[in-house]
Symmetry: C2
Subunit: 359 residues, 2 copies
Amino acid sequence: MKNYSHAALHAFTKETLQKIGCPERDAETAADVLLSADLRGVDSHGVARLSGYVRLWEVSRLNAKPIPQVVHETPSTAVVDGDGGLGLVVGPYAMQVAIEKANNVGTGWVSVRNSNHYGIAGYHAMQALPHDMIGISLTNASPLVSPTFSKERLLGTNPIAVAIPALHQDPFVLDMATTTAANGKLEILMRKGEQAPSGWVQDKDGKPSTNPYGVKEGGALLPLGGDRVHGSHKGYGLSAVVDIFSAVLSGANFGPWVPPFVAFLEPHPNPVGKGLGHFFGAMRIDAFRPADEFKGQMDTWIKRFREATPIDGQDRVLIPGDPERELETKRKKEGIPLLPAVVEDLKSLAQKLEIGWME
Amino acid sequence: MKNYSHAALHAFTKETLQKIGCPERDAETAADVLLSADLRGVDSHGVARLSGYVRLWEVSRLNAKPIPQVVHETPSTAVVDGDGGLGLVVGPYAMQVAIEKANNVGTGWVSVRNSNHYGIAGYHAMQALPHDMIGISLTNASPLVSPTFSKERLLGTNPIAVAIPALHQDPFVLDMATTTAANGKLEILMRKGEQAPSGWVQDKDGKPSTNPYGVKEGGALLPLGGDRVHGSHKGYGLSAVVDIFSAVLSGANFGPWVPPFVAFLEPHPNPVGKGLGHFFGAMRIDAFRPADEFKGQMDTWIKRFREATPIDGQDRVLIPGDPERELETKRKKEGIPLLPAVVEDLKSLAQKLEIGWME
C-alpha cells in the first residue's frame, strides 16, 4: 500500500466533484467529510467511495447542484429536504440547522429526507463540539442487515454517533455501526482469506455463518449482539430506532426500501419516501449547566475510565474516539494508505473525467 | 410460583410506601411504575425491589417526601433536582416536564440529578405515547459492568428506552439494558443451576466466564457485544453515553461513583455529584410531520418487519415491545407470578410495617 497526502486526496476529490457539476463550496465540504473517514481509519467510507458517488450521478440518482431546504419546523425541530444531493453536502447543512436551533432554544433536532450517503456519522456529530454542544448523528443505509430471527435483509448498518466536549481532555466521540461488525471488516477478511468470527454474518438461509462472502452470497450482516442469546434483539432495536428517526420522521425511504448505494442495483420500484434519511441533534451544554463545569466533570469521567485497571494482555482502557483520533494524527503526518485496487479505481476516474492524477 | 393480582400487589405497594411516609399521590405513581415492571416481565425491577427501597429509606438514603424541582431551564431543556426521592416519583415528574416543553417548542429534554432507581426505563418513555410524542428514557445505575478491556466495574446496566407511536399497530417500545444480558437473567441461571452463555460475564480477574455467580464473586457484567471482536466497545460506548447524559449533564454521580441500590453497601465516600441520574426526552411527532401521516408510515414499517420471512425454527420476527406487551395482557388477566423468596420477603415487610398481607 502506498500513502497519499491528505491535501492531495482532498484536492483530487474536490476537483472530481466539481467536474460532475458540484459548486466549489459544496465540493469543498464534501471533500472534507469524505477525507475525514480516511483520516480516522473508516477506509470504506472515504475516497474508496468517490467513484461510487460519481456512478450514482451518471445514472441520474444524484443531484450535483442540490438546494437543501427546511420544509417544516418548530423552534427546536426541522425537516430538511436534501433535493437528492450528496449526503456529504446535505448532512453539514442539516447539522448547521440543528446547531442554530440549539443556539436559540437549547437543543435542535433535524430529520432529513431525499438525501444520499453522508460519509461517516462521526464527522457530523463532531460539528457541534466547537460550539460547546453535544452532537448526535444517525443515518439509515442500504439493507444488508437481518433483524433477529429474520431471513430477509431489512436494515442498513445504521450508525449512531455522539460527540461530547471535554475541557483539557480530548472529546468523547462514539461512532458505531449498530451491527456486530461493519461490512468493511468483511472485505478485509476476504482479502486475507480468513473466516469471520461467529455472530457477524448469517448465510442466505439465515443460518449462522463464518463465511466472509456470506453477505455477498445473499446472506446478511447481524445486528450488534449476533444472536438472540447474546442480545441481537438490542442491536436490531437500536438499528430500528435509527431507521425511524432518520426516515419515518422525515419522509425518506426506510427499511428494505432504502435505495442501494451501488448504481448497478435499481432502487425499489415502489418507494415509500424520498431518497435516504438522516437525523441530527445538537444540545447546548449550558442549556443544562455551565459549560466549564460540565466539561471539567467530563475530564474527571474520561480520566477515571482511562486509568481503569486493564485486563491481562491489554495495555489500557480506551475512551470512545481514541483509536480514530490517534489514527488521524498519524495519517495527517504520514499520509493515507490506499489499497492498490482503490488507487486503480481513482486513476480510472481521473482518466474518465480528464483530471490529472497525483503521480 | 403463585400468582397475585395486579390490583392486590398495587394496593400493597401503595400502602407500604405510604407507611414510610410517601404522600398518597406519590405512592400511587410509584406503585404504577413498579408494578408495570411485573406486568411486562421485568421481574427484577418490580415488587421484588420494594423491600430494597424501604431499606434505603431506613438508612436515610431515600427521601419519602421529595419536592422535585426544575433548577435550570431553557425552552427545550431542564435540569431537575429530585430532592433525594424515589426515582419512581421523580422520573414521572421529569418526564412530564419534557412533555410540556415538547408541547411548547417541539421537543423537551430533561436531565435529572439527586434521584434514586426509577424502575423500568420503558415505563417513562411510554408516557409520551398518548401525547403523540416519541419518548426517550435513560438512567445510570450501580456499577456492575466493566468497560471493554477493564478489570474494574465502572458502569451500570444503563438502559435505553425509546417509545414510538403507531396508528393501528401497537406502539414500538424498545427497552434494553446496554449489557449483553441483565443481572436478573443471571439470577434465573443461579436458581436453575445452569451456566451462563459466553459474553455475559467476566470473573474478578477480567477473564471471560460462564459462572452465573461471576458478578457476585467480584467479576462484572459485560457490555452488549461481550468482547472486543463481537463489538463490546459499542455496548460500552452506549452505556457511557447513557451515564453522561443522565449524570454529567445534571450533576449526579456517574460511573463508579453511582450509589449502590442495596442499603448494606455504603455510597462512595467522595461523591462527584448528587444521587443518581436520569435523562428523558419527548419529541412531538407533528414537530416533524403530521402525526397521522407519521403513524401510518409506522404501521407500514411495523407490518413489513412483522411479515419478514423467519429463519428455520422460529415462528416470526418480533417488533421491539411485542414480548412485554403480550406478557402484560396475560398477567393482567392471570395475575403476576411471584417466586416464593419474593413472597417471603414481602410478608416480612408487611409484618414489619404492620400492613395486612393479602392471603
